[in-house]
Symmetry: C2
Subunit: 140 residues, 2 copies
C-alpha cells in the first residue's frame, strides 16, 4: 500500500514537471525518496521562469478532501521559499476532476498535533494551477 | 581513474553547496550521475537567493589550465538559464590556490570539434566566487 501510494505520487510529479516544462519553465524535481541524495531536503518540484520561483509540494487525491502534511516538511518548504525569494504552494491533482489546484503555504491550518492541514473548504476555493501560471507569465 | 575523478567532483560540489547554503542561498544539487533521476538534465548546482538565480557547472583542477566542456552540457545549461532567467557559470575550484573562480557561460570558446573551452587565459582573469556572491546579495 505504502509503495503503491509513493509510486502514484511519483507519477503525478512527473506529469506536473512535464507540463511546467512545456509552459517554458526550467524545472527541477527532487530525487526519488530513498535515494541517497534525499539526505538533504528538496521540495518536490522547483519551477523557474524569468526570475520567478515556484516551490511545490505535490499531492494527488481522487476527490476534494482534507490533506495533512507533516510539520517538518512545511517548515523546510517555508525555509526554502524564504531563502530563494520564491512562492511556496501545495499543488493538488484532483484526479476525478482532472484538475490541478494550488494552495499557498500560508493558507494551511496548524493541527493540534503541530502538523498542517489543507482543509477541504480551502481546497474547494483554491485557484487552478493554470491561473497561477498565467499570472507568473504576465509578471515576467 | 574514472571513478576517482567522479568522486572528486562530487566532493567539491558538496563543498560548494554547503558554502552557498551558509551564505543564505536555497541550494539544489543534481542527483549523482548514474542515478535514475539523472535521465533528465539538471545543472550541477542551482542556487537561489531572493529571486536571483545562479546556475553552476562545477569543476575542480589543481592549477589554472584550459578546461573542456561537452557541447551538449553547455547547450543544456544555456537553455536552463534562459528559461529560468538565471545567470550560468562554470565555477572552478583551483585546489592549489584554495580558490573558487567563476566564468560566465558566454566567455567560453567553441573548439573546432564543436565543444567548449574555458581558456587558461580567461580563468586567470576570472572573478572569485565571493565577488559574485557579494554582487548578488547587494542586488537582492
Amino acid at each position: 500500500m505504502g509503495v503503491v501510494y509513493r509510486r502514484r505520487g511519483f507519477h503525478y510529479e512527473r506529469e506536473l514537471a512535464r507540463m511546467l516544462y512545456r509552459e517554458g519553465f526550467a524545472v527541477i524535481r527532487a530525487p526519488a525518496s530513498g535515494s541517497r541524495a534525499k539526505r538533504v531536503f528538496y521540495p518536490d518540484i522547483v519551477a523557474l521562469y524569468k526570475k520567478n520561483i515556484l516551490v511545490f509540494e505535490v499531492k494527488a487525491r481522487s476527490e476534494l478532501c482534507d490533506i495533512y502534511i507533516e510539520r517538518e516538511k512545511v517548515e523546510r518548504l517555508r525555509d526554502f521559499a524564504e531563502r530563494s525569494g520564491g512562492e511556496a504552494y501545495v499543488v493538488v491533482k484532483i484526479t476525478s476532476m482532472g484538475e490541478w489546484r494550488v494552495v499557498p503555504l500560508d493558507q494551511l491550518w496548524e493541527t493540534e498535533a503541530g502538523n498542517y492541514r489543507v482543509s477541504k473548504f480551502t481546497l474547494e476555493r483554491s485557484a487552478k494551477l493554470e491561473e497561477l501560471l498565467k499570472r507568473v507569465r504576465r509578471a515576467a
